[in-house]
C-alpha cells in the first residue's frame, strides 16, 4: 500500500485529531507509522488536547463522528498501554492547532518533526516553519495526510501539484524512506526471550573449528543461505577476526579454539530471534565455512568511536567532536537509554556495560557492539569491567551467575555519570586511594541536598556536577551514596528534563562549565542567603555567607 517509511531516532511524530479520526487513521498509524519508528514510546506523541477533543467527539450526536472518535481512542489507549506512545501536555494547554505551532517552533532546531494532519490550513502553517528569516539550522519538518488509504506528504503536494493544496494521489517518497521490506517484517516478528532462573546446563566444552575461513574463502549464512567471499578484514582480537560484508554487515569469525558448545547454543538462540534496532549490532545469522561448520556470525556494522576513545578522554573528545556541548551528551544519553530499554523489553541484559562496547558518532548516534556477550535466557554475560560492576557482583565468577536488571541499572548509572562528567568515575575523590580501593570504599564526594561535598576531585568536576539538573544529581546521589537503583524510564525522563533545561538556559550548555550553577533569588532567600549586587560586576546574586561579596563569575577560580 503506502511506500515504506523509516524515521531516524531524532524524529518526533505528532498526531492531530482529524487525522486519527480518519477511517484509515488508526490502521495507518499501527501498520505504517509505528514500524517506521525505532523507539515509538519516545517518538510518537499524543498531545493531551487531542485526547480531549476525541472525548468531545465521542459524545457527538453524529454517529459517524462518535464511532470514528471511539475507534481512534481505542487504538491510542492500546498503544499507551503497550507504552508505544507518549501522552504529553495537560489541561493548561491551548487547543491543538496552536499547540502544534508552538511545539514545532520550539523544537524545530532539536528534532526532525512530523505532523499527521488532514487539516490543510494547519499543514501550511507548520510547513511555513521550515524556513524562518531569523532562525538557521532548522531540521526536517514533514506533514502527512491520508488520501484514499494512502499516507501522503503535503509538502510534495505543494511542490508538484496545484496551488490550493488539494490532496492528490502522489505517493510519498521521502528522504528518510530507507527501511527495507524485510527489515520491517523481521522487526515485527521479534519476540522477547524467555527469562531463566538458572544458568544454562549447556557446558562450555570446546568445539575445535577445523577450517577457519581466511581472506578469499567463501562463507555461507546459515539461515538466509547467502554466500560471501571474505575480502576486507576489519580487525583481529583475542577471540577472532572481523570482516566487512556488503550491506553494512560484519562477519565475526572465531579463532579455531574459541568455539564451544555453550557459545554455539547461545548464538543459535540469539540468531533465531534476531533483534533489529538501529543502535544494536545484534548477531542476526550464523556463519558457516565450506565444510558446514559454524565458525562465527554476522551483525550490522557499527560506526563512530568507542566512548573510551572519545567522550571518556577529554583531550580526545575535544579533537574528535570539537563542536559538542552538553546537549550532545544528553542526546547520547537518550539514544543509549532507548536502545537499552528496547533490549530490556526483550528480556536481554547487556551485562558487561563499559566504555569500549558502546560507540558514538558526531551526530550522537549510538551503537551497542559485542552483543554476543549479552545475557540472554540462561546464557550469562561472562565478562565484566570492575569499575562498572555492581557491588553485589564483585568478586564472583560472572559466568556462573545470572545478572539482574538491578545490577544492570548500577552499571548504567556509572556509565551515565562518566558521560556527564566526561570520563570521571563516581568514586574518585580527594583523599582516596588507588582505583580498586576507591571502588571498595564507595565514597561519593559530590554534594546533594543537605549533604555537603566531601573531596570532590580537583579540576572541572565540581562545576560539571553543579550544572547538572537537580533530578540528575538526585538519581546519581541516591545510586552512589544510598545504593538505590532507578529504572530506565526515570533516567529517560531525567534526560528529557535536562534537554528542556538546556534549551531554556537553566543550566550551562558547556561540557566543562566555567562557573558553578548560581541559585535563583527564591532559592537563595529560601536557604537563608541575601540577594545583593556583586562588588565585582554589579550583577545581583545570592550571597550565602555574610562575607560573600562576589558572584561566581568574579570569584577567582577554585584551586
Amino acid at each position: 500500500m503506502t511506500s515504506k517509511l523509516a524515521f531516524s531516532l531524532s524524529t518526533r511524530v505528532f498526531i492531530d485529531t482529524c487525522w486519527i479520526m480518519h477511517p484509515q487513521g488508526p490502521e495507518i498509524l499501527v501498520d505504517h507509522i509505528l514500524p517506521a519508528l525505532p523507539d515509538p514510546s519516545t517518538q510518537l506523541v499524543l498531545a493531551y488536547p487531542v485526547s480531549e477533543e476525541l472525548k468531545k467527539h465521542m459524545a457527538s450526536d453524529n454517529p459517524d463522528r462518535a464511532t470514528a472518535a471511539r475507534n481512534a481512542t481505542l487504538t491510542l489507549a492500546t498503544l499507551q498501554r503497550k507504552q508505544l506512545i507518549r501522552v504529553m501536555g495537560g489541561s493548561n494547554d491551548t487547543f491543538p492547532d496552536n499547540l502544534f505551532q508552538q511545539l514545532f517552533a520550539q523544537w524545530r532546531l532539536t528534532y526532525n518533526l512530523v505532523l499527521l494532519t488532514n487539516d490543510r490550513a494547519l499543514a501550511a502553517d507548520i510547513i511555513a516553519l521550515r524556513s524562518s528569516a531569523s532562525v538557521q539550522n532548522i531540521r526536517r519538518i514533514h506533514v502527512y495526510f491520508i488520501k484514499k488509504g494512502e499516507l501522503m506528504s503535503w509538502e510534495t503536494q505543494r511542490k508538484h501539484a496545484n496551488e490550493n493544496m488539494q490532496p492528490q494521489d502522489t505517493r510519498y517518497h521521502g528522504a528518510e524512506d530507507t527501511a527495507s521490506d524485510s527489515a520491517e517484517r523481521t522487526t515485527r516478528g521479534i519476540q522477547p526471550f524467555e527469562t531463566a532462573k538458572e544458568v544454562t546446563s549447556v557446558p562450555d566444552t570446546p568445539i575445535r573449528i577445523q577450517l577457519v575461513p581466511k581472506a578469499g574463502d567463501v562463507i555461507t549464512l546459515a539461515a538466509s543461505g547467502t554466500r560471501y567471499t571474505l575480502n576486507e578484514q576489519l580487525g583481529a582480537g583475542g577471540e577472532g577476526t572481523a570482516w566487512k560484508l556488503p550491506d553494512n554487515q560484519v562477519a565475526k569469525i572465531f579463532h579455531a579454539d574459541k568455539m564451544n558448545r555453550r557459545r554455539l547454543a547461545k548464538l543459535q538462540l540469539m540468531t533465531s530471534n534476531p533483534v533489529r534496532h538501529p543502535s544494536i549490532c545484534w548477531p542476526h545469522d550464523l556463519v558457516k565455512n565450506a565444510g558446514g561448520e559454524v565458525v562465527g556470525y554476522v551483525m550490522p556494522q557499527a560506526q563512530g568511536r568507542e566512548l573510551d576513545r572519545s567522550v571518556f578522554r577529554a583531550p580526545l573528545m575535544a579533537r574528535v567532536f570539537p563542536h559538542w556541548n552538553r546537549s550532545h551528551l544528553v542526546q547520547v544519553c537518550i539514544h543509549l537509554l532507548q536502545a537499552i530499554r528496547y533490549l530490556h523489553a526483550h528480556n536481554v541484559l547487556i551485562g558487561d556495560i563499559n566504555g569500549r562496547n558502546i560507540m558514538v558518532d558526531e551526530n550522537t548516534n549510538v551503537w551497542l557492539v559485542d552483543c554476543d556477550s549479552y545475557q540472554v535466557a540462561g546464557f550469562p554475560s561472562p565478562v565484566g569491567v570492575q569499575s562498572f560492576l555492581a557491588p553485589e557482583l564483585r568478586g564472583i565468577s560472572l559466568g556462573t551467575r545470572l545478572r539482574t536488571v538491578e545490577s544492570e541499572l548500577y552499571s548504567l548509572s556509572v556509565l551515565l555519570f562518566m558521560l556527564f562528567l566526561p570520563g570521571k568515575g563516581p568514586y574518585a575523590y580527594q583523599g582516596g586511594g588507588d582505583l580498586a580501593s576507591n571502588l571498595q570504599a564507595q565514597h561519593f564526594p559530590y554534594p546533594f541536598g543537605d549533604t555537603p561535598s566531601s573531596g570532590v576531585p580537583v579540576g572541572p568536576w565540581y562545576n560539571a556536577w553543579s550544572q547538572l539538573i537537580f533530578r540528575a544529581k538526585e538519581l546519581f546521589f541516591h545510586t552512589f551514596s544510598d545504593g538505590r537503583r532507578f529504572p530506565i524510564q526515570d533516567w529517560l525522563d531525567m534526560a528529557r528534563r535536562f534537554e528542556n533545561a538546556l534549551e531554556r538556559g537553566f543550566v550551562s550548555n558547556e561540557i566543562f562549565p566555567r562557573y558553578r550553577k548560581e541559585l535563583s533569588r527564591e532559592e537563595a532567600l529560601a536557604r537563608g542567603g541575601r540577594w545583593i549586587a556583586c562588588h565585582g560586576c554589579g550583577r545581583e546574586f545570592g550571597a550565602m555567607k555574610s562575607f560573600h561579596t562576589l558572584c561566581v563569575r568574579c570569584v577567582p577560580a577554585r584551586k
Binding site: 573510551d308 570492575q386 576507591n438
Partner: protein
C-alpha cells in the same frame, strides 16, 4: 607561570585513571658503550609506542631514575610527549639500594598527589634494570618493595641485563615475580612488551587484576 597553570589544568581535567610507572636504571660504568646506547634507544621506542596508543598516552605517567655516579630523577612524573629527550651517561658504581629507595619515595609522592587531586590510579609499576650487583645496601629498599608488592600496592619487575647481572639480589625486590634476564641486549623487545602491557592496563578500566602477558616475555628472556 602561565605554562605551569596550563599543565595543572591538563593534569586535573584528564579523567583517565593513571598508570604510574617508574624505571629505575643502572647507569654504572659497566653499562657504558652499546648497553647504555641500546637502553636509551629502547626507552625512546617505549615513549613512541605509548604515544601511538591514544588510551595509553593519556593514562601512562612515566618517571626515570638512574643510579651510577649519582642517584637522580632524570624524568619527573607526567604523561609522555613527543619532545621528551633523555641523555643517559654511564659512570660510577652501582648504588641500587639508593636508586630503588628514591624511586619508592617518588612513587609515594606521586600517589599522594593523585590522592590530593582526587585522581584515580592503578597499582604503580617499578622496573629495576641492572647489569651487575649493588655496591650499597639494598636491605631496606628490598624489604619495602616486598611489603608493597605483597599488599598489591606495587608491581615490581626486576630485569637483569646480560650474564653479569646478579639475579639473586634482584629477587629480593620481588616476592611474586622472579627476575628476568635479558638475552643479549634485547631492550627493544622488553620495551615493546612494556608498552603493550601499559596499553592493556590503561585500556582495561577495571580496578584490580590486569592479565599480564608474561608468556610473551619468556620467549626472549631466561630465568
Amino acid at each position: 607561570m602561565t605554562d605551569l597553570a596550563l599543565t595543572h589544568d591538563d593534569f586535573v581535567s584528564n579523567p583517565a585513571a593513571r598508570v604510574p610507572v617508574i624505571l629505575c636504571l643502572d647507569v654504572s660504568s659497566s653499562m657504558s658503550g652499546p648497553p647504555i646506547d641500546e637502553l636509551q634507544q629502547g626507552l625512546m621506542q617505549f615513549i613512541r609506542e605509548v604515544l601511538a596508543d591514544e588510551l595509553a598516552a593519556s593514562a601512562v605517567e612515566l618517571s626515570v631514575v638512574t643510579f651510577g655516579e649519582r642517584v637522580q630523577q632524570d624524568i619527573p612524573f607526567g604523561t609522555l610527549n613527543e619532545s621528551m629527550t633523555l641523555a643517559l651517561r654511564a659512570s660510577g658504581c652501582t648504588p641500587m639500594g639508593e636508586g630503588v629507595s628514591l624511586s619508592l619515595r617518588l612513587l609515594e609522592e606521586r600517589k599522594s598527589t593523585y590522592q590530593r587531586m582526587g585522581i584515580d590510579y592503578y597499582q604503580p609499576w617499578l622496573v629495576i634494570m641492572t647489569d651487575g650487583a649493588p655496591t650499597d645496601s639494598i636491605q631496606e629498599a628490598a624489604a619495602r618493595c616486598r611489603e608493597l608488592a605483597a599488599s598489591r600496592k606495587l608491581a615490581v619487575f626486576p630485569i637483569g641485563i646480560g650474564p653479569g647481572a646478579n639475579l639473586q639480589t634482584l629477587a629480593e625486590f620481588s616476592p611474586n615475580r622472579p627476575p628476568l634476564r635479558l638475552q643479549g641486549l634485547q631492550f627493544s623487545k622488553f620495551f615493546q612488551w612494556l608498552s603493550a602491557s601499559m596499553s592493556r592496563v590503561s585500556a582495561s578500566t577495571p580496578g584490580t587484576t590486569v592479565p599480564l602477558d608474561v608468556a610473551a616475555i619468556t620467549g626472549w628472556a631466561q630465568l
